[in-house]
């Protein structure tokens, strides 16, 4: 890697500050608001230019809502998101649309995210038309070029999504995200619907594209081994909050938060000889509509103390580039 890229890496592309996204719970005949689901509750992190930043957690932890709130596909309730120096949380829809050229999204299910009635050529050309880029001939040229970048050929352009396999469809979804030459791609579970042998093809493709095009990824997934492979830094979420954040070597090597420790020990190892000290968590994740007071993990934590029930821990540095929100370390 050249020195200039290393230097670029220090630069922050995305800055998230105390992001909160709450959904109202309505009940009764009048549909009055009777409570809130705190899907994302005070999340802060920074993503450097050119890195892959992973967000892991179990279902309902708020990782997907975080991803969508970053692009304002869901309106955040509070907090700030700064992208490339610009505050996008207060931005009007006109300037937001211009900025969305630089921020794209890839979804989990390539069967649901591509319009079944449109040919691939139309699916890929649409972002260019929406943003008024190029003339028809130039657009077609760009479509063919991007399709080739993701490993498909121009003769497949006039086909419909159902004529492709899951892996190919995910390649098309990636191509669509690349059409506008974005700086940031938020990928929400991009490989979890794919077979193992196809999953590695897509991960390799995304890695190649990052090097070729200088992309930055926010990579959201529940599969801890995939995130470890793909990302440099990782945030672990539980019930709407980041409980631990750090360089992957230090986070996977010396997990600090009891939840991260349990999560990592739960992953079945594809190595039958490995004797693992498994921490099996008791119970289930509490409802985010009624999150426990203090540390949200205290109801399942094997090391819970009195303070955990009362006071919410904040993210604190435990070592170079490694933070955790846990009273054990304060």
């Amino acid at each position: 890697m050249s020195a200039s890229i290393l230097q670029d890496k220090q630069e922050t592309l995305l800055e998230v500050e105390e992001l909160c996204t709450y959904f109202p719970i309505r009940s009764g005949v009048m549909q009055r608001e009777s409570g809130q689901v705190k899907a994302v509750d005070g999340v802060s992190f920074q993503v450097r230019r050119g890195e892959s930043f992973g967000i892991v957690g179990e279902s309902g932890c708020g990782k997907s809502t975080t991803g969508r709130s970053l692009l304002r596909l869901i309106e955040p309730t509070a907090g700030k998101v700064r992208f490339d120096g610009k505050d996008i949380t207060g931005m009007e829809s006109g300037s937001l649309r211009t900025l969305r050229r630089d921020m794209q999204m890839i979804f989990q299910d390539p069967f649901a995210s591509l319009n079944p009635r449109h040919r691939i050529s139309k699916i890929l050309e649409e972002p260019l038309i929406v943003h008024g880029i190029g003339k028809a001939a130039q657009r077609r040229e760009r479509v063919a070029k991007v399709l080739e970048t993701v490993g498909l050929s121009a003769w497949q352009l006039e086909r419909y999504p159902h004529q492709f396999s899951g892996g190919q469809r995910q390649r098309i979804a990636i191509a669509r995200a690349l059409m506008l030459e974005p700086k940031l791609i938020v990928a929400d579970e991009p490989v979890s619907a794919l077979d193992v042998s196809i999953q590695s093809q897509i991960l390799n493709l995304m890695q190649d594209l990052r090097e070729q095009m200088g992309l930055t990824y926010v990579f959201i997934a529940h599969d801890l081994s995939v995130v470890k492979h793909f990302c440099e830094r990782v945030a672990v979420m539980y019930l709407g909050r980041i409980v631990e954040l750090g360089d992957k070597r230090s986070l996977y090597g010396q997990p600090k938060h009891p939840y991260t420790q349990a999560l990592l020990s739960s992953v079945p190892s594809p190595n039958p000889g490995a004797v693992s000290e498994r921490i099996i968590l008791q119970g289930e994740v509490p409802s985010p509509a009624n999150a426990p007071a203090g540390c949200v993990f205290h109801t399942r934590c094997p090391q819970a103390m009195d303070i955990c029930r009362q006071e919410r821990p904040v993210l604190k540095s435990v070592s170079q580039g490694h933070q955790t929100a846990c009273h054990l370390y304060s």
Binding site: E58, S200, P268, S269, P270, V285
Partner: protein, 329 residues
């Protein structure tokens, strides 16, 4: 070999469609012994689920068709068994659990009613005894407050709890074989760990043999003793889990093991098997894996290799590479 619980010989299960016959299961041999946990792994469309549904005779006919081979459960031929006999076997001697516990539970009946129904279909038992047995069963699968859960409906439970209930229903008649089709795929890792732990414990305590259908090699390494690897309707390799992970013989198994990111090592790039999983029935000649295989030879394209063992008789694979190597040695 008197302890074989389930023996599948040369099973062919086809789907007859307007576009032609699709051989989803294309000559599968599989043996499950009493009390063992056998993993059946493969990617989508390899025929692993159709094999298990064939054992339960749960495929609608048409379009499903048993085109050949035999399935013997404790010596009894199931393909030709009458439907009345199959009803006695299902849920009583062989049980099945599925990936999505919400769609396999009846949303209009309480958890208790569903367990009691299974019990009373298969054994002469009064309502009160059945209720007690249902509560006992829920406790056995690790459900706290079983007395009140018996009265609740499926939608009131979480995914992990529903899968525990499914396991309770499946095991309430103490079957000798449990077929689990991707039982933890829809669950979170910490809940998956709980369920796998439970299945291991029930296997140990009740001696139930388990046929574990999964795409996750981690799950196989975790709880299975033997594993059968399937590709495009055929078994390509089988053996003890330890042998297969340490020394995979078929290039497909090798590729599969190499493609998964490992937690305990760093790879700058993942290995990936080129090409795509073939549609069932699209390859009819030679080795089904030949178009994606790195070591493909001329013979692979024209002639299907047999499933044969090397020095270790329990470790068999279906690859010309292995046969020619042995001939050469």
């Amino acid at each position: 070999m008197g302890s074989n619980l389930l023996e599948i010989h040369n099973l062919h299960t086809h789907f007859v469609t307007e576009r032609g016959v699709i051989p989803a299961v294309d000559g599968v041999d599989l043996i499950i012994r009493k009390g063992e946990i056998v993993g059946v792994v493969g990617e989508s469309g390899c025929g692993k689920s159709v094999t298990s549904l064939s054992v339960m005779r749960l495929l609608p006919q048409p379009p499903g068709k048993y085109a050949g081979g035999e399935i013997r459960f404790k010596g009894e031929e199931l393909i030709k068994a009458r439907e009345k006999r199959m009803k006695q076997i299902r849920g009583n001697e062989i049980s099945m659990i599925f990936q999505e516990p919400m769609t396999s539970l009846n949303p209009l009946l309480t958890i208790g009613e569903q367990i009691i129904e299974t019990l009373r279909v298969h054994m002469p038992i009064g309502k009160k005894d059945a209720t007690n047995r249902a509560i006992e069963m829920l406790k056995k699968v690790g459900i706290a407050r079983a007395e009140s859960i018996v009265r609740s409906y499926p939608h009131q439970l979480s995914g992990g709890m529903r899968q525990r209930v499914m396991i309770a229903i499946a095991l309430c008649c103490e079957p000798e074989l449990l077929i689990a089709d991707e039982p933890t795929t829809a669950l979170d890792v910490t809940i998956q760990a709980q369920i796998l732990d439970l299945m291991k414990k029930l296997n140990r305590d009740m001696g139930t043999a388990i046929m574990m259908i999964t795409h996750d090699l981690g799950v196989v390494a975790e709880i299975c003793e033997r594993v059968v690897v399937m590709y495009a309707g055929k078994v390509v390799e089988e053996g003890a889990v330890r042998d297969i992970f340490a020394n995979p013989r078929h290039p497909y198994t090798q590729g599969l093991i190499r493609s998964i990111p490992k937690m305990d090592e760093e790879q700058s790039r993942l290995y990936s098997i080129p090409g795509q999983v073939p549609k069932p029935g699209s390859i009819t000649e030679g080795c089904r894996f030949a178009p994606r295989c790195e070591h493909v030879m001329d013979i692979c394209k024209s002639k299907l290799p047999e499933l044969i063992s090397g020095a270790n008789p329990a470790h068999r694979s279906r690859c010309w590479l292995n046969t020619t190597q042995e001939v050469a040695n």
